[in-house]
């Protein structure tokens, strides 16, 4: 077990370094002189040269990268040159919003997917099964921003039930806070449930054909008990894996939804940093997102290993 984890870690470390390096390169090599942007109308050649020297922009890329990496390892991710905020503060303020959205979205997605999957697995091959599976397939062709427009039109414009925008922090007004996450959460949940449902359904169909299920039926156990205790648990392996991967993917994927629904999360911070050429914030946030993604993947691998003894013992 330890050897497996160790091997995964050794593999992940170079990936992390590569991600930070790539981020740094992209931010540094793109056109647009940072010093000129900061100085604006004061950008005389001498001042630009002086500012570049002061900010270390005239050092070779390798040196700048190592400087930055050294700072990162000490916890100094830099400060936005526009607002003076530290990257940690900027991310710290906005991460909870994105996390809340991700958790609500994935949770709602599971809420929709699990009952549907169980229903379809039990009634496998029936018209209902084909309908729901078809619906899931069709839903894959409807991207989140289209769903968002539909939901906004239905619930905000026509029915006036839910707010299209307007977010308050949780500690200030929990009810309005949850309300403001309903539409964006539903939008993302609609994008998540097809995959979750298909995965659970196929696993359950396979499980339900196992011998021990037939034996449980023969023993006279109640169908509900068979379903939820004996069939659902072992079928959840892939579902857990996919849920984990999805959450990791969502870390950077809430961008459009945050923009449409005006939620102050990481996605909008990223977009703002790109527009304002705020390289420091951009580097820091992409680093967080990528590291988060890698870590979540690692945890998912861990869970997988814990749940599946075959993996643990090297037979991956």
């Amino acid at each position: 077990m330890a050897r497996f984890l160790g091997r995964r870690l050794i593999y992940l470390l170079p990936v992390l370094v590569a991600v930070t390096l790539l981020t740094f390169l992209i931010a540094s090599l793109l056109p647009g002189d940072l010093a000129v942007t900061i100085l604006g109308d004061q950008a005389t050649p001498e001042k630009v040269a002086a500012l570049r020297a002061q900010m270390g922009l005239d050092l070779p890329i390798w040196e700048r990268y190592l400087h930055w990496l050294w700072g990162v390892m000490q916890g100094d991710f830099g400060r936005s040159f526009r607002t003076g905020e530290t990257v940690l503060a900027a991310v710290g303020d906005r991460l909870p919003v994105s996390l809340e959205l991700m958790v609500i979205a994935e949770g709602l997605g599971l809420l929709i997917a699990i009952p549907l999957a169980i229903l379809c697995a039990v009634k496998s091959g029936s018209a209902l099964d084909r309908f729901v599976t078809g619906l899931a397939f069709g839903k894959l062709s409807l991207p989140p921003y289209l769903v968002a427009i539909l939901l906004i039109y239905l619930f905000a414009v026509q029915l006036n039930l839910l707010p299209a925008t307007g977010w308050v922090p949780f500690n200030e007004d929990p009810l309005t806070n949850i309300r403001s996450f309903v539409l964006p959460g539903l939008t993302l949940a609609f994008a998540e449930w097809p995959v979750l449902m298909r995965v659970l359904r196929s696993d359950m169909i396979a499980t339900l054909q196992e011998d021990y299920i037939a034996m449980a039926k023969a023993k006279g156990l109640r169908p509900a008990r068979i379903l939820f205790v004996h069939a659902l648990k072992p079928s959840s392996l892939t579902l857990v894996t996919v849920t984990g991967i999805n959450i990791g993917r969502l870390i950077g994927g809430t961008l459009i939804i945050e923009t449409i629904f005006a939620l102050p999360g990481i996605g909008r911070l990223l977009v703002g940093a790109i527009y304002a050429r705020d390289f420091i914030i951009l580097q820091g946030v992409v680093l967080f997102v990528a590291v988060g993604f890698v870590i979540v993947n690692f945890i998912v691998d861990l869970l997988y290993a814990v749940l599946d003894p075959r993996i643990r013992h090297g037979r991956a």
Partner: protein
């Protein structure tokens, strides 16, 4: 005799009491939530350079200027109580208000005013704001309550130039800046009626009533919450639902403005300001270096149709840089006629194909403007390519002259001198059109030093004629500033400079 005098005095007092304020009493208390267009990066002039409208709105609450504008657009006391000038208008002396404190308890005095100025002016600080105080050579503080401005060129109207709550005119607490350093940007300390309580980035600023404000009894509100809501639909939705009590708006949101006008629970505030939305041609770059091309481009516009397509007709066409809201009114401003046929002829006369790029903000407003202009110019055989950039990039590109045509704005301001000089004087770093004309320079110089308002207006009209004839810049629509609010919001003055000042507002 004495009894009559007493009686007359009594009547006069009663009359002033009725005339002084509105018929209803101002209510104390309440929270006002304001929806701004943009998020605020900070308040330190050294860090942010120039304040945009959202920053101005917040600054009007937290910080103060020496002078403010009264309801007639004239200078009135704020942090300064009186002022006088030398004969040549190059030296101005301001007497400051006593017993005023910053939010951190330190005293507001002449030394603080001087300290703020010196910091912005110091070349070592590289402040992008330094350009806007280039006419002020230095400030003296001979005693605690006296500041003396020494100007490079005469300014007949200096007090009104200090009324805008912007990066140069607002006074920050020197001790706070020195104590907080880099962190001051997000923790401004001023003398204003509200104090910053909390600030969640990208979400909201919460300002609370300043209990030690020098104007006793004010402000009326207990609290103001400022929220950046960049999306116009979400701003209006927040207003309708009551999440926001007042939102910034502009004529581009014509549909929402018309809806608000019909809604009895809402009100629309508007101010027809001077100035206009303008565009500058880079006259050093072909094909814009030929005056016929430029004139053709300007004559190809039909501003009435433009206004209809852009804002359902709310936009007011502009013919010169001053507009109806300015005290500069011209009998002959030299505006070119709107004549697409003539324009097409000029292009044919030019002979070569005309093709160039134009900068626009990467917003729906920018894109719509771009496509409409594209259409007008396509109709006369000109090809314009839209180049979308971030709002913050436009000043940078403009200063470096990296453009063919760029949008700009001449903001509503009580005196045209600052912006006219900045944009049209040949030696100004903001002479975006790269255009030089000795007659134009002379007209601007004369306008600067003449105290007589009528004579000044004549010089400004002459300037307008030269600019219009050479078509170095062109104006589309005059500035009309809007705000939409719930009906219960009262006490918002005229939106001078486009700034929504809620510092003395109250809720019914």
């Amino acid at each position: 005799m004495t009894r009559f005098r007493l009686w007359a005095l009594g009547c006069a007092l009663i009359a002033t009491a009725f005339a002084a304020g509105p018929a209803f009493a101002q209510k104390q208390g309440g929270t006002l939530t304001v929806g701004l267009e943009l998020d605020i990066p900070g308040f330190d002039p050294l860090k942010v350079g120039v304040y945009d409208t959202s920053q101005n709105i917040a600054a009007a609450l937290l910080l103060e200027t020496l002078v403010k504008l009264d309801d007639n657009g004239k200078a009135a006391p704020s942090l300064a109580v009186s002022w006088s000038h030398s004969d040549d208008f190059k030296t101005w002396t301001f007497k400051l208000r006593p017993d005023v404190k910053f939010h951190d308890g330190t005293p507001f005095n002449a030394a603080a005013v001087k300290w703020n100025f010196d910091r912005q002016k110091d070349p070592k600080n590289n402040c992008r704001c330094a350009f806007y105080i280039s006419n002020t050579l230095s400030i003296d503080a001979p005693d605690d309550l006296t500041v003396v401005y020494h100007l490079k060129d005469p300014a007949v109207n200096l007090p009104v130039l200090l009324t805008r709550p912007d990066q140069n005119s607002t006074i920050h607490s020197p001790s706070a800046i020195q104590a907080k350093g880099d962190d001051y940007n997000r923790n401004p300390v001023g003398t204003g009626p509200f104090v910053l309580k909390s600030w969640t980035a990208g979400d909201r600023m919460v300002l609370e009533r300043n209990p030690n404000y020098w104007d006793k009894g004010k402000p009326y509100l207990d609290r103001v919450v400022l929220r950046p809501l960049p999306d116009s639909q979400s701003r209006f939705a927040s207003l309708k639902s009551g999440d926001a009590d007042l939102v910034w708006a502009d004529e581009f949101e014509a549909d929402n403005i018309q809806r608000a006008k019909k809604d009895p629970s809402l009100q629309v505030l508007s101010y027809a300001g001077s100035g206009a939305a303008v565009n500058a041609f880079n006259t050093k770059v072909a094909p814009l270096d030929d005056v016929r091309v430029r004139q053709a481009l300007v004559m190809a516009l039909d501003r009435k149709k433009y206004s209809q397509a852009l804002t359902n007709g709310l936009s007011r066409p502009a013919r010169n840089p001053y507009g109806d809201g300015s005290w500069v009114q011209c009998k002959d401003d030299g505006a070119l006629p709107e004549d697409p046929k003539k324009a097409a002829e000029l292009i044919k006369e030019y002979g070569k194909p005309v093709s160039f790029k134009m900068l626009f903000t990467a917003t729906p407003r920018g894109r719509t403007n771009g496509q409409i202009l594209q259409q007008f110019w396509k109709n006369i055989g000109v090809n314009m390519e839209i180049e979308q950039v971030d709002q913050a990039t436009i000043p940078a590109r403009a200063f470096q002259r990296k453009f063919d045509v760029t949008p700009w704005r001449i903001v509503d301001f009580p005196d045209p001198d600052v912006q006219m000089f900045a944009n049209f004087y040949s030696k100004s770093p903001l002479n975006l059109a790269n255009f030089s004309d000795p007659d134009l320079d002379k007209a601007l110089e004369n306008a600067r030093v003449t105290p007589d308002e009528a004579k000044r207006a004549e010089f400004y009209c002459e300037a307008s004629r030269i600019i219009n004839k050479n078509a170095t810049w062109f104006w589309t629509f005059q500035n009309t500033y809007y705000a939409m609010a719930r009906a219960k919001v009262k006490g918002v003055p005229k939106m001078y400079g486009g700034v929504i000042d809620v510092s003395h507002a109250w809720l019914e």
